[in-house]
């Protein structure tokens, strides 16, 4: 599920930051803004930008490979954002959609509208504030392992047929690898997450297509990738 193209809807306060972050990681970033002024502003920053309105026909986006493209609905106005999300879902069945919501109420509407992932601005901010104050070391660790450029990484590894880990218990795999990596969880084909430390995780037998979520240093991750 490697993403090559990111399409961001909106070019306001939050959308600008989203664009700034994703353009460091992906070359194909396009902005669709509601006003001519926003389009001009984005273009000045060197970003490909076009104007759109909420009633647009989304056939134009069918030119993208949906497995390699991510659509981010980042309009500041929550009501418009919900309308945009439902419009995109209607026009592009298999598109991967991320939507930003101000509150939990809007977040649930966006989920109903078909967003694959909803990021609640308010809840995330409150979570981070509390995490920084209450668990500073956890914040540091999370920050470290979530940064792509850091030496310590969280990665997801798809286990294909022939991998020596197939058929083994998640707990045993975790024990085998514990000197080099931490196996945090496995996600099965039903997209259910089994944490290695939960009773369910202990008993989960690894199958073809499962995705391992591991934390470790680059070299150890590379070794694991070669092994599986």
């Amino acid at each position: 599920m490697k993403t090559y193209h990111v399409v961001v809807f909106g070019y306001e306060e939050f959308a600008k930051e989203v664009v700034r972050q994703v353009r460091e990681a992906y070359l194909g970033v396009e902005v669709y803004a509601l006003t001519e002024a926003s389009v001009e502003e984005a273009k000045k920053e060197g970003i490909a930008a076009k104007i759109f309105d909420l009633d647009d026909n989304w056939d134009e986006f069918k030119r993208f490979n949906m497995q390699e493209t991510l659509f981010i609905c980042a309009l500041d106005d929550d009501v418009s954002n919900v309308f945009l999300t439902i419009g995109l879902r209607d026009g592009l069945d298999d598109a991967r959609l991320i939507a930003l919501a101000s509150t939990q109420e809007h977040a649930s509407k966006l989920r109903l509208a078909g967003a694959n992932k909803v990021i609640s601005k308010l809840q995330t901010t409150a979570d981070i504030i509390i995490e920084v104050l209450e668990r500073p070391i956890v914040t540091y660790v999370m920050g470290e392992i979530m940064q792509e450029e850091a030496a310590l990484k969280t990665v997801q590894i798809v286990l294909e047929a022939g991998s020596p880990l197939i058929g083994e218990l998640l707990y045993d795999v975790s024990l085998q690898l514990q000197s080099e990596l931490i196996v945090l969880a496995v996600v099965d084909e039903t997209m259910q997450t089994h944490f290695v430390f939960t009773s369910k995780g202990y008993k989960h037998r690894i199958e073809v297509g499962d995705i391992l979520v591991v934390i470790g240093y680059d070299e150890n991750i590379e070794k694991l990738k070669r092994r599986v």
Binding site: E17, Q21, V22, T125, I130, E131, L133, T154, F195, T198
Partner: protein, 541 residues
């Protein structure tokens, strides 16, 4: 002539002696004042006793107040018991001497701490020095006397003094002074102080009412005495009877034991009864109005007192949408939260959300003076969630001017102001827009890893990544990581933040030694983490 010269010489000599003694006294006064002012032990003792007696925010004051109230009630119980029973010598000594001595010590301590005499002397001395004139000892002594006198003549101090009276005599009448000890309760209960404070705001109205009632009682007493005393059927024979009848009637109590029998007397009664109704209605309205007007103040004072009593809390400045979310999450995790906002509606909303909320300007020093907080001991951290960066910078500077070490976190609205917040002394800056941008990027690249980490973060998922501090007990019981059998508790040890220079160790090997002050990061289910915490404290070598 000779006689006159001698007298003159004697006068000069007497005057120089006088000057010498005054000079000595002045020097003694000034030296003592400077000695006391520079003595840390004296200052700390005086501060301690001042806080104990006068500072409601002082932790030990509530224990002291409770102790004094126990003494007061014991004293009254002994007095009541004494009316019909013999009490043994111990309780008599306890009541007349021990309690009285404690009250005397309290009275003298209050007399001491109520004003600073050394400050008065030094101030006078330095002012006289500045104006190049001799130190005016008498002036300084008079100011000291005046400061102490103001205390002595205050109603509270008079009650204190009367409460000590049984100590001086064992006369039966003086024992009644023990009842004055009951009035001392005013000193130790804040609600009673509020009551006095509220009524003191209606001093003029109450005085007017008292004057009116006194005039009515006086005129009615005289009139009823004149009308009734010569009538053999009337129970009103003396001026005291007349006065007693007037008081009973104007207060609308009307026992009926003393009643006028003449028509003139009954006419006076009608006037007094009507006046009585007016007095009672007026008095009720004054008290009700006073309480209605001051209801918000009472509530605020109650919250202030509660906040002063909190041991640890987060102070949130500004109750906007982010603050609401943050405060509610902190509350759910069992933390105390105090909210400051100038907007009445927001403060009301915070109170409705079960938070301690005060309508105070977080950017004003006077707000913190009013709150009387000990930031170091009480405040975990200050969270600045004002509507603008301008407001947050200003508040941060105000807070920094109070305490250099407190933890301050601020929300950043415009990234161009990040440096300004840092310069204002903010320790942690949270910029929502950037966070959301980062999360979007993370999700787009590694959605499953991202979701896994999010689940560890989300409180409702049942799983968490938590910090466990290695305290002395844990360090004594577990020498190395392997001793803790973390996997047996179905937890993962993500890393160890070492107190020594090694910093953060990801996935530490089993033989890594544990030291006091290290912080373990473990991931697992909430319940398992809690069980593990218990285990680390239970096992003893």
């Amino acid at each position: 002539m000779m006689q006159e010269e001698l007298t003159e010489s004697e006068r000069v000599s007497s005057s120089s002696y006088k000057q010498k003694y005054v000079g000595l006294l002045s020097r003694f006064l000034v030296d003592t004042a400077y000695f006391l002012k520079t003595s840390p032990r004296y200052k700390s003792a005086k501060n301690f006793f001042y806080n104990l007696l006068e500072n409601n925010a002082f932790v030990y004051k509530r224990y002291f107040d409770l102790f004094m109230m126990v003494l007061i009630f014991s004293s009254v119980i002994i007095l009541i018991r004494e009316v019909r029973h013999e009490i043994n010598d111990f309780w008599a000594v306890f009541n007349n001497y021990i309690i009285s001595v404690i009250f005397l010590i309290e009275y003298l301590l209050r007399f001491w701490v109520i004003s600073d005499s050394s400050d008065i002397v030094i101030d006078q001395y330095e002012r006289d020095e500045h104006l190049q004139r001799r130190f005016r000892t008498g002036h300084a002594l008079f100011k000291i006397f005046l400061a102490k006198w103001n205390y002595v003549r205050s109603p509270a101090a008079i009650i204190d003094l009367l409460a000590i009276m049984p100590f001086f005599h064992e006369l039966r009448l003086l024992r009644l002074f023990i009842l004055f000890r009951v009035f001392k309760i005013f000193r130790y209960t804040q609600n009673m102080q509020y009551f006095g404070y509220i009524l003191s705001h209606k001093k003029f109205e109450l005085l007017t009412l008292l004057t009116f009632a006194s005039v009515v009682v006086f005129v009615a007493s005289v009139l009823i005495y004149v009308m009734e005393s010569n009538n053999p059927n009337s129970p009103i024979n003396t001026l005291f009877d007349a006065f007693y009848w007037s008081i009973v009637t104007i207060s609308t109590v009307g026992y009926g034991d003393v009643t006028p029998v003449t028509s003139e007397g009954r006419t006076v009664a009608i006037v007094v009864i009507i006046s009585g109704i007016a007095v009672i209605s007026f008095a009720t309205s004054i008290v009700v109005t006073a309480f209605t007007e001051k209801l918000d103040d009472i509530r605020e004072n109650k919250i202030l007192a509660d906040v002063k009593g909190l041991k640890h809390f987060y102070l949130i400045c500004g109750y906007g949408i982010v603050a609401r979310q943050t405060a509610s999450k902190l509350r759910r995790s069992g933390r105390n939260v105090v909210v400051l906002d100038t907007d009445h509606q927001r403060v009301k909303e915070a109170k409705e959300n079960q938070l301690y909320a005060l309508q105070l300007d977080a950017a004003s020093l006077s707000s913190y003076q009013k709150m009387g907080l000990d930031f170091e001991k009480q405040v975990n951290a200050v969270i600045l969630l004002g509507e603008s960066d301008i407001a947050n910078v200003y508040t941060a500077l105000t807070l920094r001017s109070i305490d250099h070490n407190m933890r301050i976190l601020s929300l950043l609205h415009d990234k161009r102001n990040r440096r300004k917040l840092q310069l204002a002394g903010v320790n942690h800056i949270v910029y929502s827009q950037e966070l959301i941008g980062l999360l979007s990027k993370e999700y787009s690249g590694r959605p499953i890893a991202f979701e896994t980490m999010s689940m560890l973060r989300a409180e409702e998922s049942g799983t968490a990544m938590e910090e466990i501090v290695v305290n002395e007990r844990i360090a004594d019981n577990f020498k190395k990581v392997d001793d803790m059998h973390i996997r047996r508790h179905r937890l993962l040890l993500i890393g160890l933040s070492k107190v020594s220079a090694e910093g953060f160790l990801f996935n530490p090997p089993p033989e890594t030694p544990l030291e006091k002050g290290d912080i373990m990061i473990v991931a697992g289910e909430h319940s398992m983490i809690n069980e593990f915490r218990l285990f680390t404290h239970m096992r003893l070598r």
